[in-house]
């Protein structure tokens, strides 16, 4: 599925139920540390899944295995029905289909905002420069930073940088978008502008896996909440149920802690 400006808007977006990302029996170790244990997770096309859990529970690692920034030790990960390639060009192509947004934005510091968004389409997808720029300007417009196109990342606020990072990922026309705590490095007044862009994306039907503790976002946009602790998925439910009546003690304990702040 591609997201374009004329994609249908609104919660009435048809959501076909076929699986897009499938993790089966995934195990991952860092040395002796078992960071992902028996992970089974299926994310359907158009679905928005929020991953939540205490620090060190393996949320980032889970995200990173899906575009193979981290290899797994055993188990199986399928994206759009195909297993993740091992190495080289095939793997690079796979990564191009899986968008990723990092906590620390990671915009290319030596490139302008526009170049940040066009680099992938030009070098990886082989688009002509003009075509890539037109599309990039549309995306920058959509995330509300079109005015900054010729600036460098360091000249933008954190919230603006993160929105550019989302545009950069979208420019690759990804099948699924991974967000690893996209708002936790931001000042409070900038969190909303980024979440708004993400909610808009969800409404347009993008498949999203979002690591976040923003309950507002989970309630508005998520179809499911996945709760992780100590490398395991302990609960998978709809957001309302999770936040009002979590099953496991770990989840109750965790929610108690984040709700206090």
């Amino acid at each position: 599925m591609t997201v374009t400006d004329d994609a249908p808007v609104g919660s009435g977006t048809p959501r076909s139920g076929e699986p897009l990302v499938e993790l089966t029996e995934v195990q991952k170790y860092y040395g002796g540390l078992h960071v992902l244990q028996d992970i089974d997770l299926t994310v359907d096309r158009g679905e928005v899944v929020v991953v939540i859990g205490p620090s060190g529970s393996g949320k980032s690692t889970l995200c990173r295995t899906i575009n193979r920034l981290e290899p797994i030790d055993s188990g199986r990960i399928l994206v759009d029905g195909a297993p993740l390639p091992q190495e080289g060009r095939a793997l690079a192509r796979h990564r191009a289909d899986v968008g990723m947004v990092f906590q620390s934005f990671n915009l290319f510091a030596h490139k302008t905002i526009l170049q940040n968004v066009t680099l992938g389409p030009i070098k990886v997808r082989g688009l002509a420069k003009g075509e890539a720029e037109t599309r990039a300007r549309e995306l920058l417009e959509r995330v509300g930073v079109a005015q900054q196109a010729d600036k460098y990342p360091a000249q933008l606020s954190g919230g603006q940088q993160q929105r550019v990072a989302i545009a950069r990922a979208l420019a690759m026309d990804p099948k699924v978008m991974l967000f690893d705590e996209p708002t936790s490095a931001l000042d409070p007044e900038m969190i909303k502008e980024v979440l708004d862009v993400m909610v808009d994306l969800a409404e347009r039907g993008m498949t999203m896996i979002v690591v976040t503790h923003e309950m507002g976002f989970a309630r508005t946009a998520a179809n499911r909440v996945v709760f992780m602790a100590d490398g395991r998925i302990l609960e998978t439910t709809d957001p309302e149920t999770f936040f009002t009546s979590p099953e496991s003690d770990r989840a109750k304990d965790f929610l108690g802690k984040i709700l206090k702040h």
Partner: protein, 217 residues
């Protein structure tokens, strides 16, 4: 001293030779050094070993030994036979300087935040694209000061090839000194000024680059 000034064209020619040697060796060293640096940070274990072995071996070899190898040993092995002196000089100085360039760039690569390469991988860039478009351009920016030092040292090192009969600046200086023993100091000053001018050019270039790239970091 009159001898130097009335034959100033010889001085200029000698410095022109030095400039040629420095530019050609500099380009060769930058290309090979960048390649070595990329190999050292790359995913292929064999290439990493090859590059780090080259760096270790050559960095610990005196330039004079490298020159002896290129000018004498290689022709004995049937290599570089009949190659012009300038090219041999370039090969010797280029091969010798490359590991220093590689280390300067590698320190620059280490200064590039990990997230940059990761973001490039995440949008589907191959290792080569990542290096070329994301990591190395930023690494070069961080490497300008050590690279300038390396290139300055290299420019002065080109004088070593004088031993092998290339009439670059230092060889020409010795020629004048031999003919005018009384003016040794003055002749030395004239040639020293020539080297200082060349080296200052590199420093100025480095300062200019640093200033230009400040905004984009």
């Amino acid at each position: 001293m009159d001898d130097v000034f009335s034959n100033f064209d010889l001085v200029l020619k000698a410095f022109w030779m030095t400039v040629q040697l420095a530019v050609l060796s500099g380009v060769a060293a930058m290309v090979l050094g960048t390649l070595l640096a990329a190999m050292r940070v790359g995913p292929v274990a064999v290439l990493r070993t090859v590059a780090s072995t080259y760096v270790t071996v050559v960095r610990n070899t005196p330039l004079l030994v490298m020159c002896v190898f290129v000018f004498f040993a290689a022709p004995n092995l049937g290599l570089l036979v009949g190659t012009p002196f300038l090219v041999k000089g370039t090969i010797a100085v280029g091969l010798y300087t490359a590991p220093f360039v590689a280390e300067a760039i590698r320190s620059g690569v280490n200064a590039v935040p990990l997230g940059q390469a990761e973001a490039a991988r995440a949008i589907g860039m191959t290792f080569a694209q990542n290096m070329r478009h994301v990591v190395l351009p930023q690494a070069f920016r961080a490497s300008v000061p050590p690279l300038a030092s390396t290139l300055i040292a290299m420019t002065k090192n080109t004088s070593v090839v004088a031993v092998f009969g290339i009439m670059e600046a230092t060889a020409r200086m010795r020629y004048f000194v031999n003919r005018n023993a009384d003016d040794t100091i003055l002749i030395f000053v004239v040639f020293a000024i020539g080297y200082i001018l060349l080296v200052e050019l590199i420093s100025l270039g480095a300062v200019g680059l640093e200033r230009r790239w400040k905004a984009a970091r």
